[in-house]
């Protein structure tokens, strides 16, 4: 492992992010605020409490997860798609570096940005509802692991996509529904039993549940299952990326 290429990729990606920092922070902050106004204030006033927590506070972890997942996927997918699209990826492919160094650079930068965003949203949320974090260490761990894992998923999507449509379609068609159906805005035991069963196949349920547990000490599924699920997902993404670089899939003719 050579740290110079990792640093070069990481710094270049951070520089790219910084050029568009304002828009990339302002838009999630605005949309999160909107969620709070609509779900927290308008609807939340009719829902008394979920699991003994005010509805506005209940949705905070889910909202952060929603932003974390969509931002991680879109940052990382764009980060690798763009050089592929512009052709400047030739340099990456001809450099004496391993796929691990490439992934650490790109995924690290994308994850850094989403973690920063997650923290900003957390701060925004605290303006609307009184926040309480029971397990701050676990909260940060979930935040980091989720950002890294979904940045990897985004990285894979960026390599797989051969056009801008596909780049936008996957987050829209897969990530957003999975998050909405993943218990961001409700506790899954509010669902009919059949749908509760179906939901357990949604990996996002485990992330949101674990994350919410770190805030309020309540969860839909066991915390062990949440951690195991992230670890499994991380391993699958890493294996997929290893396979991509060993076969040159969508990278080398």
């Amino acid at each position: 492992m050579n740290l110079y290429p990792v640093r070069a990729i990481y710094m270049a990606e951070i520089a790219r992010v910084r050029r568009t920092l304002l828009q990339s922070i302002v838009s999630p902050v605005i949309s999160t605020s909107l969620y709070f106004v609509v779900f927290g204030a308008a609807i939340g006033s009719r829902i008394s409490e979920v699991d003994g927590i005010s509805y506005g506070a209940f949705i905070v972890p889910g909202l952060i997860m929603l932003m974390l997942l969509t931002q991680s996927v879109s940052n990382a997918s764009f980060g690798i798609f763009f050089p592929k699209f512009s052709g400047s990826i030739y340099e990456l492919l001809s450099a004496p570096i391993s796929y691990l160094e490439i992934v650490i650079g790109y995924v690290g930068a994308a994850a850094s940005k989403s973690i920063l965003l997650g923290l900003i949203i957390l701060a925004t949320a605290s303006l609307f509802v009184p926040l309480h974090i029971e397990h701050p260490f676990w909260m940060l761990l979930f935040l980091v692991l989720t950002a890294v894992t979904f940045s990897m998923l985004g990285f894979i999507i960026g390599i797989w996509a051969d056009g801008f449509e596909k780049l936008q379609l996957v987050p829209l068609l897969i990530i957003t529904p999975l998050t909405f159906l993943g218990g961001s805005f409700y506790s899954i035991d509010m669902l009919p039993p059949f749908w509760q069963g179906v939901t357990l196949f949604n990996p996002v349920v485990y992330l949101v549940s674990g994350f919410r547990w770190s805030f309020y000490g309540i969860s839909d599924v066991s915390i062990g299952a949440s951690v195991a699920m992230i670890a499994l997902f991380l391993a699958v993404c890493l294996a997929t990326i290893a396979w991509i670089f060993s076969t040159g899939y969508r990278l080398k003719p």
Partner: protein, 312 residues
């Protein structure tokens, strides 16, 4: 160390869809030489370079760089290589300085602002170092690609049509840069469609056509071996036909008999019997008076065109 720096054995590339872009190419590149790869559009020049640099997977055959296999020891092999691609590709929003420094880091080298400055100055990019790439002209962008490739001090430099779209003065400057690199011991492989560039720069020339390496030769030997000379004689009085006394010479009449063209092998010019001196004295004997004369040596371009025509 007389081992070739690049060793290509039986290299074949079949693209998805079945197109065979390289057909069992064998080639050794010597340390420190300038090797020019010529060939018409679609011949396989870029494909060959791309396989060596790791952008395209080979279908069969092996390549080693400085003794390291490009696949099993790709790190060691690629650390030697700098690549200037044919297509202009740039991160439009980056500055010249940042993008060139990025390349150095990407190739695992510690930062060295003094080296980057040297490279930028050599390519007359120093004044533009804080410009974003999108504000540069096409020729400047190409020089940035060269600077990126030189940023990590490669021992082997691939230049895929480095002077396409570069103005005449700058082309000469680039040739100087390439020569200086060679003096520093860098091996250079370049492709070009400007034959005079190969003629001016190269030590050896390879010609590739339909994915086959059809010829590899020392440049001077090539010109000598295949080059032909022509002596054109302007006659005082037009001739109806070549006089019989001149039959041993390869002569042709042109311009309605007022010009006599003598074609001869550059290699055979010393041979007294059919040399120029012999021809001139034969003309005198035949009582043919000459107004003017000039000679012309066929260029690499003629040779190249002939070669491609022959093998097509």
């Amino acid at each position: 160390m007389n081992d070739p720096i690049i060793r290509i054995n039986g290299l074949t590339k079949t693209y998805d869809g079945g197109f065979e872009a390289l057909k069992r190419v064998d080639l050794d590149i010597q340390r420190g030489e300038i090797f020019a790869l010529l060939g018409p559009n679609g011949a396989g020049k870029t494909t060959l370079i791309s396989v060596i640099c790791g952008l395209v997977s080979p279908s069969a055959g092996t390549v080693s760089v400085a003794g390291h296999d490009i696949i099993s020891e790709y790190r060691a092999a690629r650390a030697h290589i700098g690549l200037v691609p044919q297509e202009l590709t740039n991160e439009a929003f980056e500055t010249v300085w940042n993008t060139v420094s990025f390349s150095r880091g990407l190739f695992g080298k510690p930062p060295d602002p003094a080296h980057i400055e040297k490279v930028l100055r050599a390519l007359t990019l120093w004044d533009k170092r804080n410009n974003r790439l999108m504000t540069l002209s096409g020729g400047m962008k190409r020089r940035v690609l060269i600077a990126k490739a030189l940023s990590h001090e490669p021992r082997v430099l691939f230049l895929d049509e480095p002077t396409a779209g570069v103005d005449v003065a700058l082309r000469r400057e680039m040739w100087d840069v390439v020569r200086r690199l060679r003096e520093d011991g860098v091996t250079i492989i370049l492709t070009t469609h400007y034959i005079e560039e190969a003629e001016e720069m190269a030590d050896r020339i390879g010609v590739i056509n339909y994915g086959k390496l059809v010829l590899v030769e020392e440049k001077t030997a090539l010109i000598q071996k295949l080059g032909r000379k022509q002596l054109t004689l302007q006659l005082h009085t037009p001739l109806a036909q070549v006089p019989e006394g001149l039959a041993p010479f390869d002569l042709a009449l042109a311009d309605e008999g007022s010009t006599l063209v003598y074609t001869y092998d550059a290699a055979a010019r010393e041979e007294g019997e059919h040399g120029i001196a012999a021809l001139l004295s034969a003309l005198k004997t035949a009582n043919i008076r000459i107004k003017d004369l000039h000679t012309r040596q066929s260029s690499l371009e003629d040779i190249f065109v002939d070669l491609i025509k022959e093998r097509a």
